[in-house]
Amino acid sequence: MQNLTVNGVIIDDTFAEAFGMRATAIIITAPSRQWALEAARSMTGFATSVIGCGCEAGVDVELSPDETPDGRPGVRVLIFAVSTDELQKQLLNRVGQCVLTSPGSACYAGLEGTEPLKLGSAMRYFGDGWQISKRLGNRQFWRLPVMDGEFVCEATTGLTKKAVGGGNLLLLAHGGAEALAAAEAGVEAMRAVPGVIMPFPGGIVRSGSKVGSKYKSLVASTNDAYSPVLRAQVASELDPDINAVLEIVIDGETDEAVAAAMRAGLKAVIDLGPERGAQRVSAGNYGGKLGKFQYHLKDLLP
Amino acid sequence: MLTLIKGGHVVDPASGRNGVGDVWIEDGRINAAPESREPDESFDASGCIVMAGAIDIHSHIGGGNVNTARLLLPEYHKAHLLRPNATPLSNLGWSTHQTGCLYAQMGFTTVVEPAMSPANALHTHLELADIPIIDRGTLAILGNDDFLLSLIRDNASPDMIEDYVAWTVASARALGVKTINAGGSAAFKENVRTFSFDDEVPSYGVSSRRIVKTLQTAVASLGIPHPLHVHCNNLGVPGSFETAATTMGAAEGVPMHLAHLQFYGYGTEGKRRFSSAAAQLAEIVNASPEITIDVGQVMFGQTVTISSDALRQFAARGSARPKKSVIYDGEGNGGGIVPFAYKNDYYGSLQWAVGLELFLLINDPWRVFFTTDHPNGAPFTAYPALFKLLMSREARREAMENLNPQALKHTTLGSLDREYSLEEVAIMTRAAPSKLLGLADRGHLGDGAVADVAVYRRDEDAERMFGAAELVFKNGELVVRQGEVVSLRPGKTLRVATQPDKAIVKKLEGYHQQRYGLSLDWFDFPDWAVGRDEPFGEVPCRT
């Protein structure tokens, strides 16, 4: 294994291993940017990992009024799951509890997709018979009476089967502050890339995991090889001067989006340099046996 | 003029002829013994079947309700004429002109419109007179009219009831009497929504059974050849076979005709509580020589149901396709027009099978009549296809492949091998109707019969054979050649000559003055009103 050093940052010759996922996108609009974000944050809360949350979701991009169907501020939200059924279920639960409920909100398809996922066509029953279906061009909308007027919700949104989950960067730093600075820089750069979300808190995850556990009931457990406190007890991946590791996990609408996000993040981490940020960048994989997608760090260098 | 139809296979059950031979026509009549004269014109009928012109005893071809159906459904025949053949009812024969032509093309020369409200008799006769080529007859509806119900309630003498029936038949120029859901339409006007044979009409306390029995007796006593034509209560209702069975039981040895029995052939078995009871009904018919029936076969596709059974049609409004209908509260019956499309789903398949079961399980072709209750079960233009089903079990088997197997399981159709012979077809459509209606001068090729003759080119495929006759003669005149109409002669409307008593006329005059403030003239009309020369043909009563 031949590691490269760029701007003083060591780049492992390894790859992030990622999986095919089902994903969809919706556009949430509201009378103001603030309320569009409130709705979006609410519906993407507790959506860090499919393992415990059923889906992974986050805000892809904010939209200006002239970019939304109804001319109001909005956001595009991406949602990922392992199966179409689960995605459908999560989508309806989350839109129903968090978007329908949010003041002045409206909800539209955010993706054309290969097949439709129910959105308004399932939510409509909340209207108790007073819901109104309207078709404009090729798009169908449902209007549900609510206490501040109407909740407008497109009948369906699109499903993509080309989505990718689990792109990642592992940022190995001298201390916790440096690791966090590197991760923050990486996430900020990735957020500018369309079509991706970083589902963990602030885009960052500290509890990287490995497959399996000594406990039969668990499918994943702590990534001991990267935990500095276990350095003396397990086959550690950490050099002696590495005292903190953080990971950025990326889900993307497409293979290309994940690659682009990782490229942007990598560049930001390298630009930050080893003093203020990460000394070394690696990526998580399972030896290439499990995931369909591999993102080799050396291919993503600036 | 002497005409010879030469060398065809003559099938004439009335005379027992069934073999190759000649048929001679002179001056509009069959001439069985032309001695050794030369014909003025001769038609080669070799390779053809020669029969008398067919008689349809039950087909709604004209009158107020039929015209209302035309009015209701312009889009279903040729209204949007861009591609006239693409509309669901474009083969229906919807105008009077087309009705006459299409019947003649199939070799039918006499057709009975079975439901004329006496109050609208003139309208019916105006329409019938506009149907070219064929002769027509029509049955007057009684049994929901206040006058009759009042007579029965007040225990009027049988003579008075007979006089009233005789007056009605005479003034309406009818060929017989029909009763439709007897008492049901009157009860419906009093907000009754279901009505069975032993239910009573509220304001009169008179049951349907009593009305039917009263009319049956009057018709028989008057010597009107056609027995009372009964449209039972509960048409189309699951379990209605019991109504039909009870009604047949009430015939009590006196002739009675039950119309479109198929619509009563339903039991309540199975998951959908809709099953075939055709076998039970056929058994009763087989055991009751005084009963005749016609089938009212259902065939698939768009049609429109036209019935004077206003109560039943009101109930059927919800199933109208397209969703529009007319319900009419007339004097006496009124009626209802409800468009409907028979599909090969469970219900349609079952109805189709029930009709065929009746055809095949009733043994005596002299007592079962060939109808689709046009247009209720199917337009009469479906007749050729129906002949084929009766004459070929293979055709039935093929047809069943496209139908709902669950429905067919509730019928005996799959086990029936019977195939109608040409002679049986000729009985059912010629000889038997002649007898049933008292039209002694037609339905056969005997000496002196009206020269209504249908010549069909023999074909293995009965649908092709009966769909377009090779030659058709009406009163000796060639009207169809190779399936095309070649002459549009006017036909006549046949009426039975009853002689009403003068006393009843006076009583009726008083009744109409009192109840409507109108003279009886409003409810009668002179012959000239029909607007044709000699519009009527006379049929004698039995003596």
């Binding site: - | 107020g64 003139l122 006007k189 403030g517």
Partner: protein
Amino acid sequence: MTVAWIGNRDAQVPLAIEHATALLVKSRCPVITLDTDVDATRAALALARRAGAVCDTLSDGVRQETALFTSSGGMFIAPTEAIRRADVVLIVGTLPPSAMEFLQKLAQTEPDLAGGKSRTVFSLASGDLPDEVAKVARVISARDTSVSGAAALLRSMHAVRRTAVSLEGFEELGAALAEARFVAIVCSGHGCDALALEMLQGFVSDLNTSVRASMVLWPASERGWGSALVSTWNAGFPLPVSFQSGVAEHDPRRFRASRLIEEGEADVWLHVGSEPVSPPDGIELIVLADVANPIDRAAVTIATAEHDSVVFSGMAGTFVAKAAEASAPSAASVLSQILEQLPEREVAPC
């Protein structure tokens, strides 16, 4: 005395017929308007078939009534039956003069088949009721609302749904409807357009969920409605019916006679009936009517009279025979003579 005119000049009837025939022969788009008896309608339809003409009525009311049937149907009752059964009568909209005798009968008699109940007449009519009716009728008023609006109010208020305004006097009607044995809504295409009639039919249908109710649809023109019915069985379609393309076609807009005449599409106009007509420029008018003078600007006028004839009667709700004698020829006979003189035309069977 038999009279006919070519223009304003007296002419022998055969000559007038010949002239009329010549006009039809050279016509590209002849229109026949009818308001007449059965035989004349039959003859006119036969003539239209031969001449490739359009047949229509000039009665806008008949057009509305036809549209009610073709577009939705409904529930109807014979007027004579209504007289005997209806204990609640509601008159909606203006009725034509031919209905006045019927309205009087309703007002002056009690139903004999209503289980001993007496009759109450309500009126949502816009005036012109006979005194006998006006005297007894309970007036329901929709104030400034048009008859279509009033019909909508009836239906909506009966179903206890909200309305922007109320019908005055509805309460009494509502109570009567709830207790009714048989409700007769009396109206006509004369006073209600097709949509108002359809609305009233919706009301009738609503009523029938609990009581019995039906509509007496009094024809705006008795003869016009009769002509429409004859056309329906003869051609398969109500008026207007066009034979221009060789087969019968029904289209109330394309073949509306008044439009064809006003827009100059028709070039010859044959009118059979009593309504006054006046031709626009560029159209040859032929009139068969019971007149003593030539019709102004008509190319041909032939005085005809009703002989023994059959006409539609509003009261009977069907056709009735009317015996009559007259010296002038009947319209049917004149039309038949024109037909005989017209050359044969290749016509597809209808």
